[in-house]
């Protein structure tokens, strides 16, 4: 698959929602080690809002779709997750202005913009045990795979693998952001919930795309 249309993108997003919903208990469990145990619930709420936005976003434009999704997620009262994930999609939307379909390069550029949007909100760096640790390798993998005409499904597959590896690696890290920083060394040994949900989102994007293919 070399290009993604508005409808394919919507499928990808639906795939992400399904993936989160399947794993939300795990996410909350991870969050209850150093945080307040609500990450699964918050992500499920965010996904529900996203699906509402997918259902009601009728412009057919990629930019609008992503922007509606982003604002819907921003509207979730979800602690850290709402603003970060919301700005992720809102920033992707800005990069998608005018695009009718996305090639592999566009896909990488959009996700890069999303990463930039997230990083504008937080000082968290790679290694600080946050969603950044899943997002950065995923975006790098997308960029690396973004030859012109490259297979997007394959690129997303690599991104999902990289995100998962990144998320797993956070279990060796000590939390320096979010609530979990309060437990200091005790955060070592458990994956970061935000990084984990980010890797699930990528796996869901891939599955969504697969199902559409």
């Amino acid at each position: 698959m070399n290009t993604i249309t508005h409808d394919t993108l919507a499928e990808m997003l639906r795939g992400a929602a399904a993936e989160i919903r399947e794993n939300h208990e795990w996410l909350s469990r991870l969050d209850s080690v150093g945080g307040d145990g609500d990450h699964g619930t918050t992500m499920v709420r965010a996904m529900a809002r996203m699906e509402e936005a997918l259902a009601s976003s009728v412009s057919g434009k990629i930019h609008t779709l992503l922007n509606d999704v982003g604002w819907a997620i921003l509207g979730v009262d979800g602690g850290a997750t709402g603003p970060l994930l919301g700005m992720f999609f809102v920033s992707m939307a800005s990069a998608a202005e005018g695009l009718e379909e996305l090639g592999a390069g566009n896909v990488a550029a959009l996700f890069e913009a999303g990463l930039t949007g997230v990083r504008a909100q937080t000082k968290a760096q790679p290694g600080d045990k946050t969603l950044i640790d899943a997002l950065v390798p995923a975006v790098e993998a997308l960029r690396a795979a973004a030859e012109p005409g490259a297979d997007i499904l394959e690129a997303l597959h690599l991104a999902a693998e990289a995100a998962e590896a990144g998320a797993k690696l956070t279990s060796t890290m000590q939390a320096r952001f979010g609530r979990a920083r309060n437990i200091k060394e005790q955060s070592i040994g458990t994956q970061d919930p935000g990084a984990t949900s980010m890797s699930l989102l990528f796996r869901g994007f891939k599955k969504g795309l697969e199902s559409h293919a």
């Binding site: 307040d36 979800g78 602690g79 603003p83 909100q121 609530r179 309060n182 005790q186």
Partner: protein, 333 residues
């Protein structure tokens, strides 16, 4: 043990409690858009407005601080979760005025992120605001590393003096200076003796072992060290006050306020014992207990324990502390 709470559908909890809150305090507060808490009688447009945001489940905080001489608008979130940026932006639009908005944010990841996004959008719309971050939880890390210190119940004294300043007609800059001076001179430490349950999930928040207490826990009971055998009221007062005085480097001759914020099931009775000992200890150090405040202001459900917040007062801050106010959680003539 299973949760023993009188609630309805957990999904509607934040919304329903807000309805009841406004009903119970209808002479002081009202709702706009069904989800923003404003004063029953709006402040004059010429005066600086105070806005804050924060999760629900900590009643009376933060919406209980809305009223004359205190906040103009509070944006309540879901249970323990900050409200999303769009609603915060709505609140800033509602408060928009030439005098400007003092935007008070408690240092918690979600609150700060939401406030950041909303602030960025508001500034693009030409809304004049100054942000003040409260981050006085000394258990978060060394003084000065503001990112690591969360905002606990110390937001209340900050809101009180800044709110009084705004009411007196101080400029935005002056209100911010007052708020920041109060914030910079204070420190909070929490002790937990028993846990609570999350009202939506029924999950245990902070399990405190039998016979133990934990000094240095945050607002939602995130773990944070300081587990030790349960002490007497006098001993606990001394452990906490000593750490706090050390943190703010209080010196003989100074005037301080002490606030004891019960977080749930700890009784006023116990807090009074603690205050009694605090006063004795301060006297022994030649420090004046200039003002005190004892009650439940920022709670964590039925958790047992309290937060002790200690801070410097100067003549101006004392006058602002004493100024009249009329909010659900604090009314003074």
């Amino acid at each position: 043990m299973a949760m023993k709470k009188l609630i309805n559908n957990p999904d509607n909890l934040a919304k329903e409690l807000l309805e009841g809150f406004v009903l119970a305090n209808s002479r002081k507060v009202a709702l706009v858009r069904s989800d923003l808490v404003v004063r029953a009688k709006a402040k004059a447009q010429g005066k600086v407005a105070l806005v804050t945001l924060g999760g629900s489940g900590h009643e009376p905080a933060l919406s209980g601080f809305v009223g004359e001489g205190m906040l103009d608008i509070s944006v309540p979130g879901e249970i323990f979760a900050a409200p999303g940026p769009p609603r915060v932006l709505e609140a800033l639009r509602l408060a928009k005025r030439d005098a400007g908005i003092l935007f008070i944010v408690l240092n918690h990841a979600g609150d700060v992120l939401s406030a950041n996004v909303a602030t960025g959008l508001a500034e693009k719309e030409g809304i004049k605001l100054r942000r003040v971050l409260t981050h006085e939880d000394m258990s978060g890390g060394p003084r000065g590393e503001s990112d690591d210190r969360r905002g606990l119940s110390g937001c209340l004294p900050v809101i009180k003096v800044a709110g009084a300043a705004a009411e007196k007609g101080y400029s935005l800059e002056e209100c911010a200076t007052v708020a920041e001076r109060m914030e910079a001179g204070m420190s909070t430490l929490a002790v937990a003796v028993s846990g609570a349950t999350h009202p939506c999930t029924g999950d245990v928040i902070a399990e405190i072992p039998e016979g133990m207490m934990v000094v240095g826990m945050g607002q939602h009971g995130e773990a944070g060290g300081g587990t030790q055998p349960l002490k007497t009221a006098d001993e606990t007062a001394e452990i906490m006050l000593t750490a706090l005085l050390d943190d703010i480097q209080a010196k003989p001759g100074e005037e301080l306020f002490v606030m004891l914020n019960g977080v749930g099931s700890t009784t006023l009775m116990e807090l009074y014992l603690v205050l009694r000992r605090v006063k004795q200890l301060l006297e022994a150090r030649g420090i004046t207990l200039a003002r005190s405040l004892v009650g439940e202001f920022l709670t964590v459900q039925e958790m047992g324990g309290f937060q002790m917040c200690v801070g410097r007062l100067d003549a101006e801050l004392k006058a602002l502390w004493d100024a009249p106010c009329e909010s659900p959680a604090w009314t003074a003539k």
